[in-house]
Amino acid sequence: MIKYDSVTKIFGVGKEAVTALDNINFTIKKGEIVVFLGPSGCGKTTTMRLTNKLDTITRGSISINGESIAEINEVKLRQRMGYVIQEIGLFPNKTIAQNIAVVPRLLGWPRHKINNRVDELLHMTNLEPGLYRNRYPAELSGGQQQRVGVARGLAADPEIMLMDEPFGAIDPINREQIQDEFLRVQSKIKKTIAFVSHDIHEAIKMGDKIALFDNGKLIQYDVPEVILTRPKNKFVADFVGADRALKVLGLMRVSEVTNFKPQNIIAGTDNAQTAHKFLEENDFRYGIVVDNNKPLGYVTLKNLKYENGLVIDVVENYPHFEEKSSSLRDVLSYMLMHTLMTFCVVDDNGDFIGTVSYNDIQRAVKKSYSDEAEKDWKEV
């Protein structure tokens, strides 16, 4: 747990004094990723650098598990925290293994324990130890270097990680991948993480909470959903962007809006005319064809009207089935691409479990925005 209590940082003295941080109060709970978000110069990096005493605090205090960092020797303090930066900063004169081993070595771990830990971390970050252990940083791609950077930060199994735009220098495709990998690792190791970013997408994806800074002040501190749906003022609303409804969709999963009991289900072995009658009587424009619990596709009234055989002969295939864990953003994108209003949702075995429709998505988005909140910041 990291507690920021009335933290103020002033650079310079007298007339040249600049207030970089103004009375910041918040707490990062154990095992949470908190993303420090904001435009450049907002104080997010300063907040992080105060945490490991790379800069010294002017007023207020920061405490870790109740112990003020002012009481802790700076070198000892830093060895307790993993540190990962955007420029990576691998030591070019050391091999990958030596780079990762730095902090364990400073802490005086026995050699075999260090070696095992290095291999474990290389595995964890998807780098084959046999291949990479003895290479030098210059021989690795940017993405691989940053994986090593993360591994190095994790080396001594610190309780706290400080990550300053750790994936900022990586190309977008690799960034997605390394973010996913990191989240997967984090779900197991549960570190307390202060994560600096200027990218709202990254913040939404990585953050359990987001601390939004502007001009040295902490503007809003909350979970991503609340930041997106209830921005506290115009700055926050502008920062999260006009497309924040779409960003909320990125956070919501198909399972949250799935209709588990759709009425317009037809069996593939049904007679086409019977099916046609069933749809017409119930005023459905189309039916979902399911066979043996597997979704086959859909049929419209038009498909069935002049068909005398079985439903299965005229079924139109879905280009794609949705999984429970897909994001609504992806589903909406498929709907737009294929001009379909409904998709089938399947479980891990590919069994049919329900449908997700455009209307369901729209309702969910509407629900997540409370009207008062919108009004609130318009008045400010």
Partner: protein, 229 residues
Amino acid sequence: MSTLKFIMEHNQRVLHLSLEHIGIVGLSLIIATIIGVPLGIMITKYKNLAKPVLNTANVLMTIPSIALFGIMLPVLAMVNLGLGKVPAIIALVLYSQLPIIRNTYTAIKNVPPAVVDAGKGMGMNRWQLLKEIEIPISIPLILAGLRTAAVMNIGIAAIASYIGAGGLGVLIQQGINRVYPEMILSGAILVSLLAIIVDGGMGLFEYLVTPKGIKIQRKLVQWESSLKN
């Protein structure tokens, strides 16, 4: 040919003078390194010292060697060391300071800030940072400074024979006095040869002690820039 003959005939003396020359240059280089490298590192940490130190070294280097010997003579004569090897070595140490301090200073300054920040942020103390990161990364440039100093000092040491320091300069000096061209030439050729060999040797040493990771990095940078051209 007659020069070669001179060297052959006086091989004992030539060998003695060569070793003396190497001795003077070698000893002064060692002393200069012991002073210059720490000084160069220190002025990266105490930034307001950088300018005065570098300027002083700069001024020292602009004094002509023969004039420096002249200036030191009365001073050192007070402790009865006005002539001989001691003033020669002191002069060579002073001359070496600029290339050594400047290269050390530049090398440490040029260590990427991100690397230093990472080291600090991970909990290295100043000394560990210097020993494990800053110096290994700076080694090639520091050694390049030593190499410049060594080659330069071989030339200046030849002049030091005028204050009785010995070395290969003796051959040149006595050759001039006696109007003995073979003697002058053998001194001149051997001094030049010594400079070339030391330059090559230091180059090799520099290559050998440069950390492997730095060499790979350098090679890749060269390769990339050659692709662009």
